[in-house]
Amino acid sequence: MHATSPSGRPLRRPLRLAPLLLESLARARVLRRAPELPALAAPGAETIARALGVDMQAARALAARAARHQREVLLDPRRAGPAAALRRLRRETAAGALPAPAPDARATVLALPLTRAAVALVAGVARSGRTLRVLRTVASEACLRPFLPADGDARLCTAAELLAHARAARSGGATYVTFPEHYLAGGGASRRVSFLGGEHLFSILEAVLLARGARLLAADVEEGARAPRLRECPVGLASGTLAAGELDAVVGWVAGCAQRVIAADPAELLTWGAVERHSAEAVLRARVVSLGSLQGFLRAWKAEGAGLPDEVYGWSVAELERLRAAARAGQGGAA
């Protein structure tokens, strides 16, 4: 459809392009003026190259596209409003759109890598008025908050709130959205899984929800296809509780689905930064650094002569050194 003049005649070609040009200029201006919106770590080309086994040139191109998608998802709702941003998102991801799941008497868990198609799906479900609980992470907060209507029953919540909602009787028909590729559970609620060329930690949240009677759907890409589809978890539970093998099977299936979606179109993933942070190696490194920060702080405190007793200092530094040595050796070093 061509743009028309006030008298209804089609505009000449340069004028027809004017609205497009103006929109592009406005977008570029917003991107330039607000380069540091709520943080999504920029995708690192090295991470992409290592994860996908592509050369650095290809990885850099993918990282640049992923960064552009990040900025668009973050900025469009603020610039044009959520409705217009959602229309644009749907237009641009039409080829790889994820269909909304049919309503079910049970609660439905959607395990989705945070891609543009996932944002469009969640925004669509939120607008449909269904009960929706979206796992809150730094990335989901930044990307999805503007798309959740204030007056509906859609909100971001922590994993604990999500589990509490699922336990309650009102959970039937609710939709829960989790982000397995970048949500990192604390307190041992995760499993090591082979993922994108390395060992990663995946939360057991989806498996626990499955055990509580929800149906578990994950975005997945069939072999030879490029567009993701929602697939139901094939792992059947023998009872209402999870045996160790079943738990590992569910976590492994969720991780496999996420990996196939990411590999099919890596530039669509908005959370590449988190993929690196959640590798088992990075988690161990963070542990060593945390222990080092406590040790460094206590030493600085002692050196300052600010009332840290010798015996407390001596005991704590020795304990921290023991924990650090264990963590460096990859044992976790439980105290």
């Binding site: 604390g186 307190g187 041992g188 988690v283 490194r285 963070a286 542990r287 060593v288 650094v289 945390s290 222990l291 080092g292 920060s293 406590l294 040790q295 460094g296 702080f297 206590l298 030493r299 600085a300 405190w301 050196a303 300052e304 002569g305 600010a306 009332g307 840290l308 007793p309 407390v312 005991w315 704590s316 304990e319 921290l320 050194e321 924990l323 650090r324 963590a327 460096r328 976790g332 070093g333 439980a334 105290a335």
Partner: protein, 354 residues
Amino acid sequence: MTGDAINWIALLGRLVPSARHPRARAAAARALLRSGWTPPAPAARMRAVERGLRIAFPDAGDAAVREMARRHARSMVSFGLARAVLECGTREEVVDFCARRVEVAGGEHLRAARDHAGPVIFFSAHYGLPALACLRIGLELAGHKRVNTFYARPEDNAANAGYQELMEKVLPDVNTLPGDGRAVKAGLQALRRGEALTMQPDVYDNRDGTAMLVPFLGRLTFAMGGTAFFALRGKAMLVPVYCYDTGRGRFQARFDAPLPHPDTGNLDDDVYALTARIFASMEAQIRAVPEHWAYWESLPGRLLADVRLPPSPAPELWRDAFRSLSTRCRASLPGAEGFLSELEARLAAPELHP
């Protein structure tokens, strides 16, 4: 007219690094250095420098921070030009430059190091032009002590391209040690022979768990204990030296009093304490004249961002800060909750709160 002149000078500045004839390049660099001219720095870079400066100087106003960032940009250009002068000049020209354009402050510490019977380690930050300090040290120590200088290979740090060639051109007896496992052995052997070593310990941003965290600019920074380890194991005199631009192509190499060695009887504790002293020395210099430190832009990544050290020795401030740090660390330390709870209980014991 002024704009035209600036454009021409900027063009000349761009030509300097690529001029084919080294003598022409050295002459152009020398002329630009003496003129005090500074090209405008990219806005994004200036913003990053200002971010770093605000961490170290939280009470400074916007205007003061902008002025520091502007002086920093000028200082970086000046050091780039001075590097070009040193790298392109003949040995005689460089020796002349070191003698006539580098004023020595704290000469008594340099002389004491020269006459010291044992080994000496001169350390500097990536502050000003450490290469110039190293050259001046090498020239002063000629006939007394051989100089060994640690540096990162150009493959690891592109800024070091030409460093080895420059040292070997001016100091025929110098031993350049690219920082790797063999260099550690060579460094210890040099100290055993009573020679001098130059190092810049502020280079590391090492989060793999081998780094220690020492106070720096009001936070904790990742630091390697190599310099302190060398000093303690080699029983070496540890002398801080900072070489920086004083304007119009003139430099000052300032030698401070040697740092005392701690002696707790535990090598790990001593390495930590001496590393903390080294960083305290660097911090004092950086706070006094901040514009010459090369790493303002990358400072946020070098610090543990969420650990702010209390500004005074009041015990309650340190207890509160520790509680807050411990709470933040719990999330990444599953399995260490028992230790953290026990430590907090010990810190909260009534006898600690008279």
